[in-house]
């Protein structure tokens, strides 16, 4: 499959979004992640941050020292090299112990027509991929949730979800890294610290990482 040509578009005067494709797919996501890693490694001057997403990645730069034309030309060239090389993305595997004691577990079971035991078995059966980070620091959107567990978000978000809550919504699952409001269905909890601003790597998970949930009593 030949990749669509890369495009750059400005996000204001201090960031540029490099678009790698038009349709969400696991393959496109892998290309976005490897391009993001290649740009990090390239250490392009005046680049401050790189934020990969589903179809594109966004690069924040210091506009006092680089114009939009200069920076987008260097980024497009570097992304183009990276996506043609298509090096295997560096991805780590994580095992996150989960106690399936969430307040919505029963409701999820009845809404999906499964037993509680089946909900737990299906959620802990597969490995998930980190699509992207966002919403709050360290919040990783994990894709490929078992289709029998897909439920829309709760109509009324809760004002406070405890850090470590394991949740599902639509085709994704996640662990709430901080005490925040949230509209996902809570099915369990983990002691694993997903985000700690004092750590060298503050977020446990990075885009492209693989995650398995392990049931603990």
């Amino acid at each position: 499959m030949t990749a669509a040509p890369l495009r750059a578009r400005p996000l204001g005067d201090s960031a540029v979004t490099i678009v790698l494709g038009a349709e969400r797919s696991a393959e496109l996501l892998r290309r976005v992640h490897s391009a993001a890693r290649a740009l990090e490694a390239a250490k392009i001057p005046h680049v401050e941050d790189i934020v990969p997403a589903y179809l594109a990645l966004t690069v924040f730069y210091d506009p006092r020292h680089a114009s939009y034309e200069e920076i987008s030309a260097s980024l497009l060239a570097a992304c183009d090299r990276a996506t043609r090389l298509s090096a295997a993305p560096r991805s780590r595997e994580h095992r996150i112990p989960v106690r399936y004691d969430g307040m919505d577990l029963e409701a999820v079971a009845s809404a999906t027509g499964l037993s509680v035991k089946d909900v737990i078995a299906r959620h802990s059966a597969r490995a998930y991929t980190v699509d992207l980070l966002g919403f709050v620091p360290g919040f990783a959107y994990l894709s490929e949730l078992d289709p029998s567990l897909h439920l829309p978000r709760r109509a009324q978000p809760r004002p406070r979800i405890a850090a470590g809550s394991v949740a599902i919504a639509a085709a994704q699952t996640a662990v709430y890294p901080l005490d925040t409001p949230g509209g996902w269905h809570i099915i369990g909890s983990t002691q694993t610290v997903m985000f700690d601003p004092t750590r060298d790597a503050p977020a446990l998970l990075a885009p492209g990482d693989r995650v398995r949930f392990e049931r603990v009593p």
Binding site: P10, V51, L55, P63, L132
Partner: protein, 321 residues
């Protein structure tokens, strides 16, 4: 040290924010008015990125526990030091034990108080800023309360003169009705009529506005585009949710989001928007990326000028080497 005697409804420690942690989902955060906080730092002889107090929503008072050269700026406030009026953007000398009081914020939204040496709280992810939604940064990741005592950094070796004042023409025009924006974010999604609506109407800041975003009231933009696959946003990005009413993302907005973004507020004008109160109105005017970057470079050079003038006002200044 500086002690909060009577905390205003909102007060936090802020600086320029976090510029290298967005990939972990950490927003830039930092001061809402990135110009004013740098200006008051420059005026007291601090580095531009030193931490200062961001103060909003009402009066309160703090006590200086050591001699201190301080300055206030951003919002306009009726403020006093031991009963004497404190002028904005001007250095004032406080003696240990003196109390600084804000009676009322009369116009604008965020007031900044910089002390020589800056506020000394731990640096987390490259910044001393408080990120309230994440409960980290600044002072214990929270707003300051009455009775809190916070450390100040070492005093700069060259202190600007008492009464040093920064010229008004080096400051943003906070009373400007015009806020400049740039396009190009999603030109494919918005037609000419959406652009006409956005740039030819007055928009009012809604009461639903905080450090995360300012909801704007005015004509809705026709296109209802729903949600797109999430991608990065930034402070100043103008997103259009289902009801067609724009939301300008502000300092604490999440790093990624799915609402289509029509434009981005020029970084140089973001302080003007940030200082608008609910009920205040603005009009957007389109400029090019190059013009927007030029305006930002001019602001940076104005801040450099303030720093230079402040240092040269010092009785200890020995001239250029």
């Amino acid at each position: 040290m500086i002690t909060i005697m009577r905390a205003p409804p909102y007060i936090t420690v802020q600086n320029g924010g976090r510029k290298h942690s967005r990939s972990f989902g950490v927003p830039r955060g930092g001061a809402m008015d990135t110009f004013a906080i740098r200006a008051v730092n420059a005026i007291v002889g601090n580095s531009l990125d030193a931490a200062a107090l961001e103060w909003a929503l009402g009066g309160g008072s703090v006590r200086f526990d050591r001699d201190c050269l301080f300055a206030i700026g951003g919002a306009t406030a009726r403020a006093t030091l031991s009963g004497k009026v404190v002028a904005p953007c001007t250095t004032t000398r406080a003696l240990a034990g003196e109390e600084f009081t804000v009676e009322q914020i009369s116009s604008g939204r965020f007031l900044y108080l910089a002390c020589d040496g800056g506020i000394d709280v731990p640096v987390l992810l490259g910044s001393r800023s408080t990120y309230l939604p994440g409960h980290f940064g600044g002072y214990e990741g929270r707003m300051l309360r009455s009775g809190d005592s916070i450390a100040l950094g070492a005093r700069p070796t060259t202190l600007p003169a008492e009464g040093f004042h920064s010229a008004a023409d080096l400051m943003p025009r906070y009373d400007s009705a015009i806020v400049h924006i740039t396009s190009g974010t999603r030109d494919d999604l918005f037609d000419e009529s959406a652009w006409r609506t956005l740039t030819e109407s007055d928009y009012r800041i809604s009461t639903a506005s905080d450090r995360t975003g300012y909801k704007l009231e005015g004509p809705a933009l026709g296109n209802s585009l729903g949600m797109l696959p999430s991608e990065a946003g930034c402070p100043g990005a103008i997103q259009i949710p289902g009801d067609g009413l724009p939301i300008a993302l502000m300092a604490d907005a999440p790093t990624v989001g799915g609402y289509p973004k029509i434009a981005v507020v020029s970084e140089a004008d973001l302080p003007i928007l940030a200082q608008r109160r609910p009920g205040g109105s603005i009009r957007f005017q389109l400029i090019t990326i190059e013009q927007s970057q030029r305006a930002l470079r001019r602001r940076a050079s104005d801040l450099h000028t303030i720093s230079q003038l402040a240092v040269r006002s010092s009785p200890d200044w020995k001239g250029a080497r």
